[in-house]
Symmetry: C3
Subunit: 190 residues, 3 copies
């Protein structure tokens, strides 16, 4: 009798201790897991207004440097051009697929020496799978194969989202059309 009595207490105590340790290692010691709690891969398509494609363009140059104009990207690696966009988002790389939302915001070209851009925009998603917005900001050195920008917030299905999005040029045609693949990893879910 004496020997078996403590066991019903020792067992939960050990269990508690292990649970607590795992809780501590992930929270108190700052070693949070790096596995995304949400993961989406989406494409968006940008057709820049060039003076002749008003009907099907999805973006327009609205800020230019002193040497620029609004119907063609500026010399010096497009430095200073600011573009406002409202681009369709699709699940695959086909411009004509049914859009699941719109990418809306601005990008700008910010170097005279390299083709490098900077973006601040929202994904406004409205499909059977996802309703809500994801907000992004970051640098986009377009000649690098993959570029990471920040997911700085979200609403709806993406309430309080934070994470990293990896951009990849999926296609471009001259300076008028490009398609970006966006690999969105949310690490902070609510």
């Amino acid at each position: 009798m004496e020997k078996t009595r403590p066991s019903p207490l020792i067992l939960p105590t050990i269990l508690l201790f292990l649970l607590l340790l795992s809780s501590f290692s992930s929270f108190a010691l700052g070693e949070r897991r790096r596995e995304p709690c949400k993961h989406l891969v989406l494409y968006f398509h940008d057709i820049l207004y060039n003076g002749r494609n008003l009907a099907n363009s999805t973006s327009a140059i609205v800020g230019v440097p002193a040497w620029g104009n609004r119907t063609i990207l500026a010399d010096l690696k497009h430095f200073g051009d600011v573009v406002v966009f409202d681009d369709p988002i699709t699940l695959d790389n086909n411009l004509h697929s049914e859009p699941v939302g719109r990418a809306q915001g601005l990008y700008l070209w910010d170097s005279k020496e390299f083709y490098t851009a900077w973006l601040a925009f929202s994904f406004v998603l409205n499909s059977t799978d996802h309703k809500g917005t994801i907000n992004f900001m970051g640098a986009d050195p377009t000649t690098v194969k993959t570029r990471d920008i920040s997911v700085v917030g979200g609403t709806g299905d993406f309430f309080m989202a934070r994470g990293v999005a990896t951009l990849m040029a999926d296609a471009y045609e001259g300076t008028v059309y490009f398609r970006l693949k966006v690999d969105i990893k949310i690490y902070d879910c609510y």
Copy 2:
């Protein structure tokens, strides 16, 4: 005697287990509470420069598409217009109430088909109640009754704030004046 002895140990063990479970359910399993830890309702007032109201205007068109100009919002749902603003913030819906701060940043109109905007701005609050800044970003489909944008950061009284702000058009007069009600819910407090 034998029957009552374990009780002083079983009680704290059960208590611990319940505490641990609640700790786990809120942190490890990602089910954090959705109650705001800070909540503010504020109004801001935007008077757009139209070429004749320099003295009392609080915003100005500074970027335009090829078909636009800086003293009137552009055709095609104002697509491409970029507006810089420095708008008074008030506690109620009266433009002439004592301001508690300024809303500063930019918004832009980003669709040719719908009146939809995109904003990135700061609330710079300086009153007896609040000193600090709140930084916002998000899409604003203006024809929808309420629109959620992200609180992406804060300083001062709003140190490290994160949350969601719900925008509501509270009034507008033509294209020159509008008033937004902003319901700010901070879920991440320090």
Copy 3:
């Protein structure tokens, strides 16, 4: 015998309770520590294009109000001027030191009454010490000695960073050159 038996269980129980309490005080009760987990002090240098310094300028006016132009900052406290920049970042206050990265994005002047700006930009760091990006947003009332803006995200070495950056004017020459000291405190590390 009866008296000593509970002790091997009471000890871990007390230990557990204390650990749990400390876990609770830091997470459940919202009292997170305010000590930065990463801390950097950097400088960046902005040389504004004025129509005559194309080769060595690092920024350009790209949006202007109706009364502005792109080669000189506008009247009325530069209200409405939008500047795109690609500024070298250095470890000390010397413009000619080896850059450790580039500050890229935009700032705008947003008041007719005060010299106050608003910024949204990225630090793109690429040195032996740091590889990655830090994304910033916030109001910059330039006449105040120190101004706090938000670190809204990061990538690479600054994966998921959040924090506050304190800006200080370190030098300026007319309206063409300024140097900002940026004291970056990251409170959310992964």
